[in-house]
Symmetry: none
Subunit: 522 residues, 2 copies
């Protein structure tokens, strides 16, 4: 048996209170999902906002390997025909090969929210689908509030599905929109639906009762073959069904084909990359991909794990790209480093004394708030520096940033100066303006360094992320800055931590520059 | 039907990587749980650490209303008698009226982890329970790895339960220790157990597959009458079964008696208080008790919620002490603004032209990157300013921030100056140092303003969040800053957006100050 995965991170996921993707973020997420083996990617709701229209235009220029792009929308408005309804037209203009539209199942919603007659709703469902069917490659129907609607009025709920079937829906997706349904109820209702509807069925769950994963699996157990969900369970209120948990549960525990073994090994990477793009705080205890998911603390557990990991692990962490952590100081440190060394393909013996020294250095830095996940370039610099393989390319003598707004209604000005000492002893004192203090600092720094390292003009900074660490002390909080750079060939990310955000940014900038020089073997 | 609630926040919950309670914290948690109506509180493992011994000594001086205190432990060591085993003796010395001990179910664990014969393990289980039964009021048995053990060797797994029964266990608790069991398997196995064991059964689940809540409910559906779990699902790896979700699911959805309606209204309070005591970061999307659990963002949802909250809520938030929130964002329209107006208790007609103007203003600001979700104070200021109800408390003439590091190995220094014009025309020019540029700016600004608005000295900044908006332009990216403030009575959050992070922070700081003055009717 196999199941199709339909991801709605870019649509329902963005309903989450704190998530707001740029178009570039959305493209990045779509490419990650495609590599991961997701079958359908719902890119947005073209009828509802201009950012989504831009995404659909842009994604066409990318060749996806596995996934088809889907556009979301609603059934036509009661007073308009499909030809006149701007939201329906926006779906067509998106040129997405798949359209997924939702309609009302629950009689109470038809009369209370839409305020139309029950039979009108059936006509709307049928003719919207029939219309789209003529223009779009595949059409899916999301039966909103299906389970609540079925409990309130089973006959009417099933009539809405019949209307969708007549309209030509290729999949009918049963939605637990309010997230209040229990697995036992859900399974029983699906069995009733199957007696009357032979269209393939999908499931779309929300996590308001902390049951979205269980409900999705239960639906599959009852024969449903399309699962809709969101990476990391992002979404409005308590979030959508979490694909990061559903996928390994399906594949490893229910033996259901959905993605390949190789794709499954990307689970950790996909989960963490999309969390970073969404700028959402870490969920350490996240099932499967959390940093603590395979971390062992209790003494009894640790000693058993050393004898055989199956004693306290439900799966082997490597299968999904995560790793075991044993929270016993120098054991965990060294194995982490070993893992990193192997990952970077470096030839260092784990028993080399420099490794133990490095473990201590990293521990100290981690105490200060450094984290090297996602900042592999800083990690590699640290590692190679401890082995004497990174020269002192320059000495930083000092810097100053002035950020000021002299008069009301004037834009602020940022000016930076830096003093840098070159290897030959010459000192360069340069100044630069910028779009904010960090940009000014970057300008001044590059002006100084490019005089003796012209190769640095290849670097462009492409991402800048700020995270506040200990948040209970207001503007005195410690800041972690991640900077992503490219030279057109590769990309690398560096990190800086300090309670002064300028200083933290400066540290990450300087690491980015050193990394480029190191990679060029200068 | 009724179910007994057995909380292990103070024992299994503290296995969480980041949780470390003091004895005072533990007493505080126990009292909260008691008021909440929990039946059994597992206070710790007296045989394993001195802090737990201190807790058991101390809790005896408190009169609990509902709960019995339980002490956790293991079956005796193979080479010792119960009289000689210090861990068993520590259980007795704790003087807890209930003892809950765990033993091995899985043959592989007996031979691999304990390294003893299978029959020896059965004798150990039976005689440990029999010994404790003579000294303690109630004795429970936790069958560790029960489901994995049953799948590996059902006969032996059931023999261990028979041994526990012979030993006199009042409850036999089936544990999904590794958290890898699916609800379907779990239900079927419990049915098999019930055929052979007539001792009352309990369930103890872990969340490694994001199924701990579903598994606990499934167990109850199959006749189990004691549920073990942890508040907020804290615990080792991915945590234990979350009582904060289990309790309302049992009571509101399965109609199972466990706590009173009045106690259920404390769910939000208990969840948040214990999170604070554990010093764990907020889980905004937490089912039932998260700040976002009843927050509505999409325009369609909001317009339906205004007609009837049942349209997009699975339960009424007041039942569990939470509340509804409506967010204003680029996905929203007039309905969200209307809801906000009502929430703030303002008397504004939605059809007032000022409202349409405000909607347009907000859309324009949102295009610039503003987001008012979580920044309700800035939203209220905007709304009231559009109606001429916020005076010009002061004019900001200009500011300057200098952030510099003069010499290598010196810490950076941040200095700010501001020029502010008071309503009477006087200009104040002040300076301040800080722990980073934003802190310096805050110091200088407050120094100026407190001269004519002394009430501002009540404000403390408690949180500072930075988000970079369009991330592909590196250090030129636009920055959104959220600042949370308090005056000891209430908390409010304000927002600022600019491509200069200093300027963005400054805008949020100034809004926070204006909001305080506005609220004081100055």
């Amino acid at each position: 048996m196999s199941v199709l995965l339909y991801d709605t991170t870019l649509r329902d996921g963005t309903q989450s209170e704190d998530i707001s993707f740029t178009v570039e973020d959305k493209i990045h997420v779509a490419k990650l999902l495609d590599e991961f083996g997701i079958h359908y990617i719902e890119g947005g709701w073209p009828g509802s906002n201009p950012k989504d229209i831009e995404f659909f235009r842009s994604i066409k220029q990318h060749n996806l390997k596995n996934a088809r792009i889907s556009a979301f929308g609603a059934t036509r408005r009661a007073k308009l025909t499909c030809d006149d309804d701007p939201s329906i037209q926006a779906l067509l203009e998106s040129e997405a090969p798949v359209a997924c539209i939702f309609g009302k199942t629950w009689d109470f919603h038809v009369t209370t929210a839409l305020q139309i007659e029950l039979h009108q709703n059936l006509e709307i469902i049928e003719d919207t689908l029939a219309y789209l069917k003529k223009h779009v490659d595949q059409v899916f129907y999301d039966a909103e509030h299906f389970f609540d609607g079925y409990k309130a009025n089973p006959d009417y709920a099933l009539q809405t599905l019949q209307a969708a079937k007549r309209g030509g829906a290729e999949y009918i997706v049963l939605c637990d929109t309010n997230g209040g349904t229990l697995p036992f109820e859900l399974g029983a209702i699906i069995e009733e639906v199957k007696k009357q509807i032979d269209t393939p069925l999908g499931i779309h769950c929300h996590n308001d009762s902390e049951l979205a994963v269980a409900n999705s699996l239960t639906a599959v157990k009852h024969g449903i073959t399309q699962v809709q969900g969101v990476i990391n369970g992002f979404g409005e209120r308590c979030g959508n069904a979490n694909l990061i948990s559903i996928i390994p549960n399906l594949k490893l525990k229910m033996g259901i084909d959905c993605i390949s073994d190789e794709q499954l090994r990307k689970l950790y990477h996909v989960s963490h990359s999309i969390r970073e793009l969404a700028n959402m705080a870490e969920w350490k205890n996240q099932p499967y991909t959390g940093k603590s998911a395979f971390a062992h603390k209790g003494g009894i557990h640790v000693s058993a794990i050393l004898k055989n990991p199956d004693t306290y692990e439900h799966i082997a962490p490597e299968i999904i790209g995560n790793q075991r952590r044993v929270l016993v100081s120098d054991l965990s440190g060294r194995s982490n480093i070993q893992y990193k060394i192997e990952e970077m393909g470096l030839d260092i013996d784990i028993n080399d004394p420099s490794v133990q020294e490095l473990v201590n250095t990293i521990k100290e830095l981690e105490n200060q708030g450094y984290a090297y996940e996602g900042a592999e370039a800083s990690m590699e610099l640290l590692l190679q520096k401890s082995r004497g393989l990174v020269p002192d390319y320059f000495k930083l003598r000092g810097y100053r940033v002035i950020d000021e707004r002299r008069e009301q209604d004037k834009e602020p000005i940022s000016e930076a100066t830096v003093r840098v000492e070159a290897p030959n002893g010459d000192t360069y004192h340069t100044a630069g303006l910028g779009n904010g203090p960090v940009d000014a600092l970057n300008t001044a720094l590059r002006k100084a360094l490019e005089q003796f390292y012209p190769v640095l003009n290849e670097i462009t900074l492409i991402d800048y992320k700020v995270r506040i660490l200990n948040t209970t002390v207001g503007t005195k909080a410690k800041t972690r800055v991640l900077i992503e750079s490219t030279d057109g060939k590769t990309r690398w990310t560096t990190v800086g931590v300090h309670n002064d955000i300028i200083r933290a940014s400066y540290l990450a900038l300087v690491d980015s520059i050193r990394y480029k020089l190191y990679k060029e073997n200068i």
